[in-house]
Amino acid sequence: MSTTPGTTAKFIGASVRRLEDPRVLLGRTRYVDDVRLPNCLSIAFARSKFAHARIFSVDCEAARRAPGVHAVLVASDLEGLLPVLRVEHDPAVPVPPCRTVLWPVLASGKTRFVGEAIAAVVADSRALAEDAAALIKIEYQELDPVIDLERAAAPGSPLVHDEWPDNIFQHVEVSLGDVEDAFRRADLVVSESFRTGRHLALPMEGRGIAASWDGATQTLTVWASTQMLFVLRAEIGRILNLPEHAIRVISTDVGGGFGLKAHVFPEELMVPALARRLDRPVEWIEDRREHLAASQHAKDQIVRAELALAKDGTMLGLRTHVMCDIGAYTEYPWRTFEANVTAMAMPGPYKIRAYAYDTLSIATNKCSVGAYRGVGQPIGVMVLERLIDIAARQLHIDRAELRLRNMIATDEHPYQGIHGLEIESGSHRESLLKALQMIDAGGIAKRQSESRLRGRRRGLGMASYIEMTAPSTQLWQALGPAGSGSQPAMIRMETDGTVTVAIGTNTQGQSHETTFAQIAADRLGLPMSAVRVVQGDTSSTPRGWFVGGSNSAVTTGGAVLRAAEMVRANLLRAVSLMNEIPFANLDLRDSFICMKDDGARITSIADAANATWLKKMNIPPDEDLTLEITARYEPPPATHSNASHVAEVEVDIETGQVEILRYVVVEDCGTILNPMVVDGQIQGGVAQGIGSVLYEEIIYDNQGRLLTTNLTDYLAPTAAVVPTVEIAHIETPSPYTLGGMKGMGEGGTIAPPAAIANAIAHALDEFSPRVNRIPLTPERILAIIDRAV
């Protein structure tokens, strides 16, 4: 069901069609590569062929003489242009300490991963730049590569960064509750070691940036494909030594981000630096090979975990040891938080009162690992949910029953979470029970027999989680990337009664232009057609932070609500003065100011807005009744959405192929702004989760050579393998956020590895399978079966 924009129904909670769609469908978008700057030069990079090698010489003579080439740069040419980037511990914020990483914009002295940029060619076109880059001769001496995660962490390993004593970027140790005692009291301890594949966000639009320097005003305009235009602007200012006010970053249409574009990359600093130096527009549009080799990978971890339980299934304690392969340079400018998020995703909805974890983030000669939808949460959830299934089998307790016995009950909220964050509300048991009912979990044995008759094995797997959404300033600091959790919104009611909403972030497809218009339209009694959301331009929006951590509905949504309430109040006060009607008796409805009790119309919102701006009638000239207000909203210290996923799969034990027969999600993200959009986020998130558990893996050989350099080697799931997810909602509004929203953009991605791995283990139960490594490719499924036979 779609509600057509233009009516004044209640929009919050309605499946309003998206306002951003017509321009996309008609082909009139402004992705970076759609921007056409006159006389624009294009960059291509010469990138390292080796994982770890000394660079002896870089001969650029032939490249400099090639047709259409304007400049060729190597590391030594960057002096005075671009400094080496530093990722370092900031003692001013309470983040876990880490080693300082020096990240040269062009590799200097040695190269640390295949694909690292060594030289940059600026030419009239990308084709000419690539032609010239191919003429660059680089002399290397190969060094022992640091590839295997466990060996990289061990003493005596070759070093990725020569100035470090080892390859350990960060080591965090945390013990909560009496863990020793919990394990001493346990009747059963189950343990397993897990390995998760390296994969990546893979937005369909890769990275890209264009920049133009205006010598007359000494200002820089940047078009970027980013999730954080204000952070990028600040970094460009800092690195190029330009005042931020002289930089405008535009990022109106972004072809997917999923966390990958919530970083600043060396290429994104080089382009504006060169545009300024050459006084010509310059662009760099990443190709897919560069994207797979040198953008940002994710989730390459080894996790060892132990769960202690009593005979009756009570979960007593948990220990985890997380190792994350963060690649050569970690994530700029955030340090790293992948491993810590994995650890903090446990114990999720389960009432475990003793938990010890330690995380090791280890440098290797690979592309850096950074944020990708859910960050470490999909791994943490898979680890705990697999352990629960293993425990249930050994305790002879039904898998669902074991979970239900340990879950936080609705009436136990607010529940003091073990990580020190209050879990405000939730529907953990309800969501699991509903999901099991939807998939008819009781009938699984019968369906398994039917599959068996066809020579296949069927299984059902479940997983529940709590997602830490809309991180506050406090939570961002605890996780690692120090920054503000608050977001702004500016609302201006124009003199014709239409409304401009300007937000401080930009969209990568999450429907911000629609959902935030829904909020403003509802609070201001206007139709959707009267509201326009402006986003993605630092010159016309208030200063925001970034899109990530499922924050926008809560933070930007809260700011829109707050600003709308303030504009609403000023408009009503003006009408109250003009018409001598008590403020409290007035309401906004269907484009009119009306009496609250009987709905009698006083004046149109358009006339009221006009009169307010022009200070007509009885409004004293010095009365501050502005209809242009910027508000900020800092979310509560923690906000938590929850969900249960249940998957039913069939495994072909001859080929190792897995087919997902049904996939059910019951989720609770508090107040739902737009169910169509929420369902779309879940379906898309589950598809990415399916990719991570069954198909996607970045593979390096033991010399650090990248084997997955294109989209035939790196398998992203297609329409042929992703089922239509069956979705139900439970709506438990947050008692603490404005509007009750909790945030859910990343949620769909978090549980598929757990639910599907559990379903596969269930299907292969007769083989006593160890399902502990993802992706579960056909080869790995066959190996699991063969080991047992």
Partner: protein, 160 residues
């Protein structure tokens, strides 16, 4: 000895209009559409024919414009997303994509529209599996495909 020519004169029909150009022989069709003609709805996603973002219709059949040289369209008829709507009135496929939330970031959408156009113009009553297989040559990273499949079903039902 003949010098290899680096530009060739090409005539073809694009979205119903005749185009005559001198085109560099090594220029890809997608780059010609985007860079020379300013038709940026057709997108470059992988330059390898896998992701389908660059799909256009060539003589009534969907093709990958990143795997073709522009000069190959000489004498042919090319359709891109810019030629789908009649003014502001969307093609039934575009309308179905809008009505069913079949796009999020939108980067892959043009490619899906052209692949789906090929399907609905050539197949009378494809079932769900056939639709999914037809769409499986296009990658979308946002939607998880379900709403794209629905949109194509709706557009097909309207055609019947």
């Amino acid at each position: 000895m003949n010098q290899p020519r680096d530009r060739v004169s090409v005539t073809f029909e694009l979205n119903g209009l005749k185009v005559e150009r001198e085109i560099p022989v090594r220029q890809l069709l997608v780059d010609f559409l985007r860079d020379d003609l300013g038709l940026t709805a057709t997108r470059v996603g992988c330059e390898q024919g896998v992701c389908g973002s660059c799909t256009v219709m060539l003589d009534g059949v969907s093709v990958r414009s990143c795997l073709m040289f522009a000069v190959q369209v000489d004498g042919s008829e090319v359709r891109t997303v810019e030629g789908l709507a009649h003014g502001a009135v969307m093609h039934p496929l575009q309308q179905a994509f809008w009505d069913n939330h079949a796009l999020q970031c939108g980067f892959c959408t043009s490619g899906f529209l052209m692949t789906a156009l090929d399907l609905i113009e050539h197949r009378a009553e494809p079932d769900d599996k056939e639709i999914r297989n037809a769409l499986s040559g296009n990658l979308c990273r946002c939607t998880g495909y379900a709403n794209i499949v629905t949109a194509v079903q709706v557009a097909l039902a309207q055609k019947r």
